[in-house]
């Protein structure tokens, strides 16, 4: 009966015959990337995915523009705040694991090359979506092209020359193919501009459905970002920068042209003009505080014109606001504890502290720098002075504070709070009885424990919406606003700058500056300088006017995340970020001791190295075609 054995063997083999079925456990319809492009609602998620990589520009933890320079300072080590940008400010940027690494998406940076790949995947596949209306498809494609341009722009600003990701390389690409090299900055700029031009044509000027689409990019955003890109390209850092004449790829490709090209300003000026015209055509205008709800003084109203041009949600001036990085944490970081009856509330942190340099930057009440004002005693600025009834809308009447805080322009009082400053709003809307700040040791807004205090004694009131209210317990009422990435005043000042660089001083340049100054409650450039400045002719020369435009820009856009980039593109970071960081001596209880500038840190900026981010060393080891940023 040998066949018994056979039967068993056959049986065993028969079972084995079913193997492939047994081990095939995957049911049909397991999600793959193809599912993202089968229908409109799924494809919309992919569109939103592309948006999700936009850097969080309204959060100083992830946007280096706030803390990595000299605009804000914080106590150190900082525990309740991701201190990556503070590390950069303290000169600790490195090549092993760079801070705010937007190349690899590490240490707080977004992975921008992943973002670019997703944009390309979207562009490659969007035609597959059956139920997507053609007009909508055109707009979506334009949005993704914009985002692709914007991600390149971020990389350009951080890393200078970068590889351009025009299309996706397949995963199966050979080892040599994937080793891409940097491309010259001019090529990168041209690529970004071409994408923005393509996008601007197909984008609406205003989103059709405000309730669900505000925050998505428009043709106005595309045109104004183009203006910003071209102004960057025309600025000294990128336009004929001889510091980088030896900065070349391994094959010798020159990455920075060392000859200055004035035509770049021409392109920038045109882009600014086109953007401004488009904005005006769409009804955008500089913001003025409309509220008639409260009967307030002109002084307070002017300050509200300034404050709410940032803090009011979707205001008339906003060209592109980020609905994905709304101002919430940054408001907490700026808000001082002003309510003596709610000291237990620890949610207002007040730790994002403007430096003394920022306090001195603002003009005198006459609209000229405090160093130039004939009537302003610069040398005595640290002396004590007591506020009078005349100052009552800006300073607490009868309060003793530094002379530096007197007779300054409205933007000084609108943007900053300090020991003795009036803080209008935040639940007290009668400007005869507003909050005021008391910031000396043991006072309401002073240091509490190890964290949660302003190490300079200043607070960036500008970024706090006037309806932010400290409530009982640990509660807050925070009115979020879309972080302003681009607003009209910015564009005006870019245009003024470009025109001055192109043609020198003239009425047209002044007119754009004066629009901004008017809203800020200041006389015109011509009047201010002629009447009050020790250098009355300054605005009539190109160099003088350049200085005026730069300063106007630094003041108008203070604390909004522009100073850091502007100083770099003007090649002035080496001067600004290279010296002592000062604040008041906040550990003191007596005014006489408190109002002594204290050195918090001695910043070092190594030019030209620190103008660009280093690339993580590992990337260089993996891809030898990639050269390290100059000096790193």
């Amino acid at each position: 009966m040998k066949h018994c054995k056979l039967i068993i063997l056959t049986g065993a083999l028969g079972l084995l015959g079913s193997c492939n079925n047994y081990l095939d456990v995957i049911p049909d319809n397991v999600a793959t990337i193809d599912n993202a492009f089968t229908m409109r609602s799924e494809a919309e998620k992919y569109l939103f995915t592309c948006y999700s990589y936009l850097p969080s520009e309204g959060d100083p933890q992830w946007n280096p523009a706030f803390v990595a320079g000299d605009e804000f300072w914080q106590f150190y080590p900082v525990t309740n705040f991701n201190g990556n940008s503070l590390e950069i400010a303290r000169g600790n940027q490195n090549i092993v694991d760079p801070y705010l690494n937007y190349w690899d998406g590490l240490q707080g940076g977004k992975p921008l090359f992943v973002a670019l790949r997703d944009c390309n995947i979207f562009l490659e596949n969007i035609d597959k979506v059956i139920d997507l209306e053609p007009y909508m498809k055109v707009r979506w494609i334009a949005e993704v092209k914009f985002l692709k341009a914007y991600f390149h722009f971020w990389l350009l600003r951080l890393y200078g020359p970068i590889p351009i990701i025009r299309e996706n390389m397949p995963i199966s690409s050979s080892v040599d193919e994937v080793k891409v090299a940097r491309e010259p900055v001019d090529s990168v700029v041209n690529y970004i501009v071409s994408l923005l031009d393509e996008a601007a044509v197909d984008l609406p000027a205003v989103v059709p459905d405000l309730t669900s689409e505000r925050g998505r990019v428009t043709s106005l955003a595309a045109r104004s970002i183009k203006a910003r890109v071209l102004t960057l390209a025309a600025s000294p850092l990128f336009n004929g920068n001889s510091d980088f004449s030896n900065y070349r790829n391994a094959d010798g490709t020159e990455l920075f042209s060392s000859t200055v090209d004035p035509q770049k300003w021409q392109r920038a000026a045109e882009a600014c003009r086109e953007a401004i015209e488009a904005c005006h055509a769409a009804g955008l205008k500089l913001y003025y505080f409309p509220s008639t709800l409260y009967d307030i003084s002109e002084t307070t109203r002017t300050k509200m014109n300034i404050r709410n041009s940032i803090g009011e949600r979707w205001n008339d001036e906003l060209i592109w606001g980020s609905s994905n990085s709304t101002a919430h944490y940054i408001q907490r970081l700026c808000m001082a504890r002003i309510d003596p009856s709610r000291l237990i509330n620890e949610q207002a942190l007040g730790q994002l502290a403007p430096t003394m340099r920022m306090a001195e930057l603002f003009y005198s009440k006459n609209g000229v720098p405090i160093t130039e004002d004939k009537t302003w005693e610069y040398a005595n600025r640290y002396q004590l002075r007591t506020a009078t009834a005349e100052d009552k809308y800006n300073l607490k009447e009868g309060y003793e504070t530094a002379a530096l805080h007197f007779d300054r322009e409205p933007r000084f009082y609108a943007d900053l709070a300090f020991d003795g400053a009036i803080w209008y709003g935040q639940g007290k809307y009668d400007d005869e009885d507003p909050w005021h700040v008391e910031a000396k040791m043991d006072q309401t807004s002073a240091r509490k424990g190890v964290g949660r205090y302003s190490i300079t004694g200043y607070f960036a009131k500008k970024l706090v919406n006037w309806n932010f209210i400290i409530q009982d317990g640990q509660d807050l009422s925070v009115e979020e606003y879309p972080w302003p990435i681009m607003r009209l005043a910015d564009l005006y000042l870019l245009y003024a700058e470009a025109l001055n660089e192109l043609n020198g001083p003239g009425p047209e340049v002044y007119s754009w500056l004066n629009l901004v100054r008017e809203r800020a409650g200041l006389p015109t450039v011509e009047d201010s300088w002629s009447t009050w400045s020790r250098l009355p002719d300054k605005y009539t020369t190109q160099e003088g006017l350049r200085e005026i435009i730069h300063r106007e820009r630094l003041i108008e856009l203070a604390f909004e995340g522009h100073r850091y980039w502007d100083l770099r593109r003007w090649k002035q970071a080496a001067d600004a970020f290279n010296g002592p960081v000062l604040g008041w001596d906040v550990e003191q209880t007596e005014a006489a001791r408190y109002y002594r500038p204290r050195v918090l840190f001695k910043q070092v900026f190594r030019a030209p190295r620190d103008y660009f981010w280093p690339i993580r060393e590992h990337n260089i080891v993996v891809n030898r075609n990639l050269v390290q940023s100059q000096g790193w």
Binding site: Y46, S52, I171, S173, S212, N619, R624
Partner: protein
């Protein structure tokens, strides 16, 4: 009457044969026999499995009293091998077996006994918390850098995990074998490459019920405690740590506070708390009860065993709570193995096994609490304030806390007493086996089939109140009073809250069918064959995503064919043909063959003259392939499919006036690759078995392994590709090699005195042979040629003298650093210290040598044994994060996120650190800091230590009450014993137990003293 020479127990079933005839009988249940002999006298041959044959001259009518000598080697005559058994003498594969009694340790964790006892096993134990104290063990070291490095564990043929193995009772184990080479493991195909541990449980023997009972009580304490600095030093150095980094920093303690604390002004206003002694006892006691009943008749046999273990933690209990939150782990095991002979040739077996753990302990678990103690400030607040200190009358305990700085601190005492956590774990198996002997059809043919179902479940639940935290302030030295402020009004509760934890369920079904053929032709040709088919299906309840929820499956056919000629020449061919659901259809099945040959030299005629000195010499060699399909990660399967999440919140965006038009986004966590497949291991084993002077048994083996197809991330893909997930391929290769050696000595000198000795030695080293890495110009960065657990790090030269030296040395790219921080060597000379300066440091982290030696001796009714175990050629690193004083360190992101943490200060650091007043360039700890100094915590040679140690792992003294006293109670044997585990440790490293390696601040390895009694009747 036939008895055991050692124990004096009667031996039933011994075969008694009259020499030169076929006439014979067996002893009965009491070991007695009656045999008619034809002449006046005859030579009787007594033989019994596990004993040496004995010949004896008897005279007619005379009672023969025979003592058989147990034969340790012969005990293993039949060894358990993959899917069956094999005669030990004919085996050529590399298998270590151990007498299960040797695995007996006074602990409810079997895995802690493995180190040093089994040649070929590399093992170490890193923590001593009951329930979490499994040792890590690897067969012949590690030859892969995939995720599954540990062996396949099979208990009664069923794949189980290390915890199941840990819960096994040595008393219930029939055989315990470690399969080490390809011939032993290739039948397991794609799952056997890391070796296999094979355990079978006991079955009943024919005879009356035999009951065995064992009771143990043990006292367990920490082998070594980390020494902490006193509270005054803590404050002084905490102040120093702030000032030395930042002259304008805020001091954590005023001089007034320090002075008052020194003076002991008031224990509540100026507390100084030794949290460890506040929370922990020095020792705890554990109990174990184990019983078994076995027996049976012609038709059915049974083995029933039950175990109850109770392990207690070392936490103290606050009398004011009505619940006890000390760790209490009760485990219950019940096993029933029943064999039934349906017909003369058909046998069935039903095996039921249940293992149940019930745990009650603190909400954080023991290790969690231990870690909290190590991160609690000793001087900020007392554990609790006296009840009368509160101005209002309250029910609750007034726990201390402080919000100095930001947020609450840890009050570990409050966390210990605030509630308790229960978890239970159950594992149930039901197994049915059918064996049919087809000898009547084809001589030597048999078949069997087995089915097994397993359910594993776990859940935990915690009940706790939110403690009331009070902060003391405003101490008035004249009245000696202070004020108390409630810190968490509204959050704290006097009633219990509740939290449900994880719930895991796994259901597994396994079937196996086999045919066996086994026959000897012409008395010299031994032929055997076996084919087995297996199929396994496993499902998990809480998978987390669709792909993980799909069944885990294995399927395969394996076979073994052996040929032996005259017990002298042996040959074997094995194969496994296996598939796993993880891979693409084209890569799903793999074929894993192996061959082996053996030569039993001492069975040759020409060897006979040498038999008296060398009674055994066997040479054997095997070579073959084995696989490992557990690559990537346990949940990371289906490499041939992409894995996308079409509802990824983090990749979404929001728009609209009020930002409330929100859609999730898309993320990719895997790109498809159809060609990914299992790891393949080519294994060579050469062994020699040597028996000397009848007393020594030596097995020495040399092995090499070469693992290829190890899954790796492609290192050549730059970030600019923009991939979201790593691209992986089977490109890694590694090899390992080493030596296993075991020596057993067994001698019975007189009836009163016997001695056993043994030595085990395992050396296994590994190296990368192909590793996907960038093309380093710094060749020392390459992994090739280094051990798989080799660490790379920076070379610490010494501490910086001062800031001036810092400014004039190569820039170190790891955050801010100053004089007194670690100065590194610029290996590549590029003027910067970066990751390119990391060189291979020290030995691998997995020890390359594990050894053990010991002896057992018996004299009259006493027996004594001692066993030493050691480990060599490993390095470990003191964890510079966890031990950094004063800093807030979290073991993982988000751990204890509601608390401010402050690491304790090790006494060793307090005594020996760099300071401005004492610039010791070779201090144990660099310049103090109240935050982590990234520069100092890089993997570097400063904190590297030698992991070698030798310890007296176990020592035992037993006394067996002589049988004469027992017989009237119908008791067969009583043995009383005392034993100890981890009694002594020898190591250069003194801060904590060296076996814990870098993990010195967690629940320490335990030292156990045990008293037990074993009764058989």
């Amino acid at each position: 009457m036939v008895t055991d020479s050692l124990t004096g127990e009667s031996l039933p079933g011994v075969s008694v044969l009259i020499k030169g005839t076929q006439q014979g009988t067996n002893t009965d249940l009491e070991g007695k026999f009656v045999l008619d002999i034809s002449g006046n006298e005859a030579i009787l041959i007594f033989s019994f499995v596990g004993y040496k044959d004995k010949e004896m001259l008897v005279r007619k009518g005379q009672a023969a009293k025979v003592e058989l000598v147990s034969n340790i080697e012969a005990l293993d005559e039949v060894a358990v091998v993959a899917f069956g058994t094999q005669k030990k003498s004919s085996m050529i594969s590399s298998v270590t077996t151990i007498d299960p009694q040797e695995l007996k340790v006074p602990s409810s964790n079997l895995t802690t006994a493995l180190a040093g006892r089994l040649s070929g096993v590399i093992a170490y134990q890193r923590t001593g918390e009951p329930g979490q104290d499994n040792a890590s063990f690897f067969i012949r070291g590690v030859t892969t850098f995939g995720y599954k490095k540990d062996p396949l564990i099979l208990i009664d043929g069923i794949e189980l995990n290390a915890t199941d193995l840990a819960r096994l009772q040595p008393d219930d184990i029939a055989t315990f074998s470690i399969m080490k080479d390809a011939t032993a493991t290739s039948l397991y195909g794609a799952r056997g490459a890391n070796g296999v541990i094979l355990v079978t449980t006991k079955e009943g023997n024919e005879g009356p019920a035999r009951v065995s009972l064992r009771l143990e009580n043990s006292i367990s304490s920490n082998t070594r405690n980390v020494e902490l600095a006193d509270p005054i030093t803590y404050m002084r150095l905490h102040n120093e740590s702030v000032l030395t980094r930042d002259p304008i920093g805020l001091l954590p303690y005023s001089q007034n506070k320090i002075d008052n604390t020194v003076a002991g002004t008031d224990p509540y206003a100026y507390p100084a708390v030794d949290w460890r002694s506040m929370l922990l006892k020095d020792a705890t006691s554990n109990q174990r009860v184990n019983f078994s009943v076995s027996g049976g008749g012609k038709v059915a046999r049974y083995y029933i065993a039950g175990t109850f273990n109770q392990d207690n933690g070392v936490l103290k209990v606050d009398e004011r709570n009505n619940f006890n939150s000390n760790i209490n782990l009760k485990s219950y095991l019940l096993r029933s193995n029943v064999n039934i002979n349906l017909t003369k040739t058909t046998e069935t077996a039903v095996r039921l096994y249940g293992s149940f753990d019930d745990y009650r302990g603190p909400v954080d678990g023991g290790d969690g609490l231990y870690r909290k103690i190590m991160r609690s400030n000793p001087v900020l607040f007392p554990a609790y304030f006296p009840a009368e200190a509160a101005r209002t009358r309250v029910q609750h305990i007034l726990f201390g806390n402080s919000n100095q700085g930001s947020g609450n601190f840890i009050n570990p005492y409050a966390d210990m007493v605030k509630g308790y956590k229960d978890w239970t774990r159950s594992n149930m198996l039901a197994q049915f086996e059918l064996k049919q002997d087809f000898g009547w059809v084809v001589p030597g043919l048999s078949a069997r089939a087995m089915g097994n179902a397993q359910r594993y479940s776990y859940y935990d639940v915690s009940r706790f109140y939110n403690p009331f935290y009070y902060q003391a302030g405003g101490y008035d030295p004249r009245t000696g009073t202070y004020s108390l402020a409630l810190m968490n009004e509204g959050e704290a509760t006097e009633y219990l809250g509740y939290n449900e934890g994880a719930k895991d369920i796994t259901a597994t079904v396994y079937i196996e069918a086999a045919v066996n053929y086994n026959r000897t032709f012409a008395e010299t040709h031994d032929v055997s064959g076996m084919l087995v088919y297996i199929r396994r299906n496993s499902l998990v309840a809480n998978a987390g995503d669709l792909q993980r929820s799909l069944p885990f499956r294995n399927e395969g056919v394996s076979g073994r064919f052996t040929y032996g000629y005259d017990d002298r020449y042996l040959a074997e061919f094995n194969f496994g043909y296996n598939g796993s659901e993880r891979f693409h259809q084209s890569e799903r099945f793999g074929f894993f063959p192996s061959v082996g040959v053996g030569w039993y030299v001492s069975n040759e005629k020409f060897w006979e003259p040498m038999l008296s000195s060398v009674h055994k010499l066997k040479l054997r060699a095997t070579y073959g392939l084995v696989g490992n399909d557990a690559i990537g990660g346990p949940e990371d399967r289906f490499f041939y499919l992409s894995n996308v999440n079409l509802n990824q919140e983090a990749n979404g965006a929001r728009f609209g006036t009020n930002f409330n038009y929100i859609r999730p986004g898309v993320s990719i966590s895997r790109y498809p690759n159809e060609r990914i497949t299992w790891e393949t291991d080519r294994q060579l084993n050469v062994g020699v078995e040597l028996g000397l002077f009848n007393d020594f048994e030596i097995i020495a083996e040399y092995f090499t392994r070469h693992r290829s197809n190890i899954l790796m991330t492609r290192a050549s893909i730059p970030t600019t590709m923009g991939l979201q997930a790593d691209v992986r391929a089977n490109v890694g290769e590694a090899k390992s090699g080493g030596v296993d050696f075991s020596l057993d000595y067994n001698k019975i000198f007189t009836q009163q005195f016997w001695l056993q000795g043994r030595v085990n030695f395992t050396y296994a080293s590994s190296e990368f042979t192909a590793y996907e890495e960038p093309d380093y110009r710094e060749t020392y960065k390459s992994h090739i040629g280094h051990s798989l657990s080799q660490q790379w790090g920076l070379i610490a030269e010494r501490l910086f003298v001062d800031d001036y030296e810092v400014a004039n040395s190569p820039r170190q790219n790891y955050g801010e650093y100053r004089g007194g921080d670690i100065k590194y060597h610029d290996v590549n000379g590029d003027g910067q210290i970066t990751n390119l300066d990391q060189v291979p440091l020290g030995f691998p982290t997995d020890p390359e040598i594990i050894y053990g030696f010991g002896f057992s001796a018996g004299y009259r009714s006493f027996d004594f044994s001692a066993f030493f175990q050691g480990s060599a050629r490993s390095s470990f690193w003191i964890d510079p994060y966890a031990t950094a004083p004063f800093v807030s360190y979290r073991y993982y992101d988000g751990e204890l996120s509601d608390y401010s943490l402050q690491n304790q200060l090790l006494k060793a650091y307090a005594d020996n650190h760099w300071s401005e007043s004492n610039r010791n360039l070779h201090a144990l700890w660099p310049r103090l800091s109240s935050t982590i100094i990234e520069n100092n915590v890089q993997r570097n040679s400063w904190f590297m230590r030698n992991g070698s140690f030798l310890r007296l792992k176990s020592v035992e003294l037993g006394y067996s009450i002589p049988r004469d006293y027992l017989s009237r109670w119908k008791i067969q044997n009583v043995r009383i014993y005392v034993s100890g585990t981890n009694v002594l440790t020898f190591s250069k490293f003194k801060l904590w137990d060296p076996e814990m390696a870098g993990n010195g601040l967690s629940y320490p390895v335990q030292k156990v003293f045990n008293i037990g009694v074993q009764v058989g009747f």
